[in-house]
């Protein structure tokens, strides 16, 4: 075993067409670690997640377990154990809940593994189990977010990237989701990289923080140091 971080990016640049959104981002997530990326609207958080999961092209280096991975497709990042819960949930709206989960388990070896994993997530999210045969497009926002998280975890990833899972959801549901994520991460050693506007909740479960401002890392440090920093507290926590 090496000490290389599970995921590391060096000098990452990405954007859309001619427009560059991210400028030389350096960031890393260790095995089992919970890291949060804070930033205002338009800071480049979603672009960062998309680039790291292979959805959009990038320049600079992405390393998994210390080795550069080049320019992988999303399925190749997933094969390396890195899974994304996309912003807007990416629900497969025309498929039922069980089939959504089954698709999430595409990379698992056998049908038995897939069924086991589905049972596990139905245990963790009983509301999904109640709606197993329902078309996913008809679920409520909170249920779709549960489904998106469960689907992204079906492949048993080592690192889960979560793009603003709190967006548009009631505070109680967000709390429940974060609680579940924390538990799952602790139980199965899955590392988490959360991108959030909801700084307070994110700081609660994260150990390290990156602060993104206009496409660049403005500062980084432990969650505790961020909570104690007056400027950041005022800007992002509002007290």
């Amino acid at each position: 075993m090496t000490d290389a971080p599970l995921l590391e990016v060096r000098g990452l640049r990405a954007g859309y067409g001619q427009v560059n959104v991210l400028h030389d981002i350096d960031l890393s997530v260790g095995t089992g670690e919970v890291v949060v990326v804070l930033g205002a609207n338009g800071a480049g958080k979603s672009t960062l997640m998309s680039a790291m999961s292979g959805l959009i092209p990038h320049s600079g280096e992405i390393l998994v377990d210390g080795s550069p991975v080049g320019h992988p497709r999303p399925d190749q990042m997933l094969a390396r154990g890195i899974s994304l819960v996309p912003q807007g949930r990416g629900t497969l709206t025309a498929l039922d809940v069980t089939d959504n989960l089954r698709v999430g388990g595409t990379g698992l070896g056998s049908k038995k593994d897939v069924d086991e994993e589905i049972d596990r997530w139905f245990g963790i999210f009983p509301r999904l189990a109640e709606r197993a045969d329902q078309i996913a497009g008809t679920l409520s926002g909170g249920e779709q977010q549960m489904l998106a998280i469960a689907r992204a975890l079906m492949s048993r990833p080592r690192l889960l990237l979560c793009d603003e899972i709190s967006l548009g959801l009631a505070p109680l549901i967000v709390q429940e989701l974060f609680g579940t994520l924390r538990r799952v991460s602790a139980e199965s050693g899955t590392a988490l990289l959360l991108v959030e506007q909801n700084a307070e909740l994110a700081l609660d479960i994260a150990s390290r923080v990156y602060l993104l401002e206009v496409g660049a890392v403005a500062s980084s440090g432990t969650a505790d140091s961020f909570r104690e920093n007056n400027n950041i507290r005022q800007a992002y926590l509002g007290y």
């Binding site: 497709r73 089954r102 999430g104 078309i135 497009g137």
Partner: protein, 299 residues
């Protein structure tokens, strides 16, 4: 009664062909939200190859499996090397490539095989006496054969989509390609397979089709009308629905047979106009067709 039945039978036979071509359109549309206008020309090309093989002394039955494989390969290659490079740009680019394929393939057929009519071999004896009598109406063997093939393809596709992991991946890609990719599905591979499968179905439809439209001869225009009827059928049923293609195809086939049979004052040449009117009406009144998925989303 017997006249009605024989019109029904011939309508069902034409309908079966429309069902097959409509299914080919549906398979591509489901996975890539594109209507492949070159669908008919893929089928025409492989049908010419089938004719060419039988001219070399091969039995038509022996010629079918290789041309289905050829259809699959053509469809897959077209997706991989012509459609995929322009996919990122926009829908119009795909449409233009499909139109290019349409005219290009038709020109290629004419260049290789000439524009004269080819006598196409029947798959079953289809002479005057080769029928079974049903309530006084003649049911020809080759009609029954077309029904059986169409039914087999419908059942096969239903099983594929509902019961296999490949089918599940195809449905996932159809619903949301980005999410499908994030779930580990190789989206490009699924699209290639879909186009191949679609062209393979078209190949089968091609060899079944030519003997059923009088006078049973193959020419460069053999697919034009059929593609329009099948497109109308697919639209009527809903472009992403297997069930819709079946119902739409049968409605077109039987409907046209009845109109041409009973409303003779309209005349046979009205068929194409009828199909085009139907396309416009469906697009205006119910763009998702009878069984297409209305997007079920709650915000």
């Amino acid at each position: 009664m017997d006249i009605f039945l024989s019109r029904l039978f011939s309508g069902m036979t034409a309908g079966s062909i429309y069902v097959l071509i409509a299914l080919a359109l549906v398979v591509v549309f489901r996975s890539s939200s594109t209507i492949n206008f070159a669908q008919g020309e893929f089928a025409l090309f492989t049908t010419y190859v089938a004719w060419w093989l039988t001219e070399r002394g091969l039995n038509i039955w022996v010629a079918i499996p290789p041309i289905i494989v050829l259809g699959f390969v053509m469809g897959a290659l077209a997706e991989r090397f012509l459609i995929r490079p322009v996919r990122k740009r926009d829908e119009t680019a795909i449409l233009i490539v499909a139109l290019g394929l349409f005219t290009g393939l038709n020109g290629l057929d004419g260049w290789i095989w000439g524009s004269d009519e080819k006598v196409f071999p029947a798959m079953f004896p289809s002479g005057e006496d080769d029928y079974v009598s049903v309530l006084g109406a003649r049911l020809h063997y080759d009609s029954i054969l077309v029904w059986i093939f169409a039914a087999a393809v419908v059942i096969g596709l239903t099983v594929l989509f509902k019961r296999t992991s490949l089918g599940l991946e195809m449905r996932a890609v159809a619903t949301n390609p980005e999410s499908a990719a994030l779930c580990g599905i190789k989206v490009g591979r699924i699209l290639t397979i879909s186009w191949g499968l679609s062209a393979a179905i078209g190949s089968l439809a091609g060899v079944m089709l030519v003997p059923t439209i009088p006078p049973g001869q193959l020419n460069l225009a053999s697919m034009f009308q059929v593609l329009i009827f099948a497109s109308a059928a697919a639209l009527l049923g809903g472009l992403d629905s297997v069930k819709g293609a079946v119902v739409g195809g049968m409605v077109m086939g039987i409907g046209l047979a009845m109109i041409n049979g009973y409303a003779t004052f309209i005349g046979g040449s009205f068929s194409l106009t009828f199909a085009l009117i139907l396309i416009v009406v469906v697009l205006v009144v119910r763009p998702t067709g009878l069984y297409g998925t209305r997007r079920l989303e709650r915000v």
